[in-house]
Amino acid sequence: MAIYLHRGQKILVQGITGRQGTFHAQQMRAFGANVVGGTSPGKGGTLVDGVPVFDTVREAVGETGATASIVFVPGPYTKDAAFEALENGIRLLVLIPEHVPVADSIDIVTRAQDLGADVVGPNTFGVISPGEGTKMGIMPNHIYRPGAVGVVARSGTLSYEIAYQLTNAGLGQSTVVGMGGDPVVGGTFVSVLQRFREDAATRAVVLVGEIGGSAEEEAADYLSTLGKPVVAYLAGRAAPAGKRMGHAGAIIERGRGTLESKERALSQAGARVVTVPWDVAPAVAEVLR
């Protein structure tokens, strides 16, 4: 079992003929993902590494029956791609692009809520479930192993670092979810934790957070319901207030979103909070013992 993904799930790649789309469609298939088609306006009828390309999502869904899609288009075009997917029956949408206007993200998330669809991102590395042999994302394949640790992170490379250390410590992962580094994203720590709670394959959760917003504080309020041990590592202790640290959402604004407030909330809620990334794997080993 896993969250969001399952073995054999039919996946579309929107923007499959672009450099990123082509490369990551190939990487996803190498990991075992069932990529049944891609879209690229004007290139319908062609193949990318043997995967059929369609002009529209409507056509792609009609031909393949896919209900999941991963989007590789520039930020300004993401809203159009996302709505095209949602209006044509896609119910799991992974939005990789960075620099999506926040107003567009609000519209996407609102529409997805009305349709009962799940949105991961934007500005995410995606979702991977090693045990299911599938992924929708841009993460490197070789660092993951099947196992019982769920990981939910705001940042890609930092989650890779942590997943790799878990793997090296013999701690495989059930599902690793990238929420996305933008201020407005489809998932919240709480919505992902709710899924981990229901997921029998997940025995412990690693939460990789950062400064900005209040998603970590809200996650803390949920921990007593989760009923599974949580190890948290948060980045941004050295960040000055008022500066965006790479992610559009990683900013301490008007005294809110500080690391101290997040660590305090998580720690008081019973999470094991570690302050350096290499302490995560040993802490997970301990809470699983």
């Binding site: 980045a235 790479g246 990334p277």
Partner: protein, 370 residues
Amino acid sequence: MKLYEYLAKQILAEAGVPIPPGRVVDTPEDAAAAVREIGPVALKAQVLVGGRGKAGGIKFAETADEAPQVAKQILGMDLKGYRVDRLYAEGKLAIEREIYVSVTTDRSRRCPLVMASAHGGVEIEDVEDRHIVRRHVDPRVGVLPYFGKEMAYALDLTAGLAREFGDLVEKLYHIYRQYDAELVEINPLAVVDDHLVAADARLNVDDSALFRHRALPVVEEGTPTEHKVSEIGLAFVELDGDIAIMANGAGMAMATLDTIQHFGGRPANFLDAGGGASVEPTAQALAVLVGMHPKAIFVNIFGGITRCDDVAKAIIQVKNTDGIPVPLVVRLTGTNEKEGVALLEHEGISAYSEMDKAAQQVVALAGEGR
């Protein structure tokens, strides 16, 4: 992107929000002319920092005779690190009371949020929670006049003011949507002669949406080095330490700063070289770090999509062209790690595979730490 007050006011006025008479002034003589046109004015420094009044960036000129002298006190002054090049001369108001109102995005609820308080004129974060009225906007519906009117009654405004407030909130929400604003704030919203007037305004535009707003003037914030790196297309923040840092990915870069600080070092910057950076931008970014004249440089790479041998090649390229005159510590882990380490060792640069050992080493080489 933050807009200067005078730009924000211009946009408010175009949307029909009442603002005091005013105009931009950039010389002392022009300040005198402004007083002759407007009457007694407040001369307000146009810089992107809050608390201008307390810092001496807002002064009053009652007559055209005294205006140049007052303007001279502000023009050219250093206001919290920003040089004042421009003033906004605005008709002095007889303010009866000060209200706060803003439209922003609630990240958790993922929808717009209108906030108002009868305790205006101070930064909203200094206002007690019980004095703030918050109301979320359903983006499918938007804001109609009743929305703000209801908030106005919660603030105990008179019926007349409540009607004006309802119209005002509708207009502010329109600006929020039209300009892809992160924040539209009027503080204080002044009551003058029993009418509402926007005495000060902030308008911050979502950087990701600037492609839709090419007509807006570009307002640059940040240091010269920050501008230079943003032109390469990388995320960079200058800090006040002396260990220069490059990492791939925003989270990794933040964690790298934290790790340096953990071992007692002082990071000079935040630099995200990108999650899948290739040789050229990595070399450019490293060259910028060398140009900052740090005590030491730390490159921390987790090779996922980024390949460690590409990073090694970028480092060697900079070493052999610009030169790297300060100690350099490299941490490489992941994709093509062996190839990367071999390339660096061939050039006499040692690479670590563990983040903690590498970070400790660079802090020691910078002569810092415990």
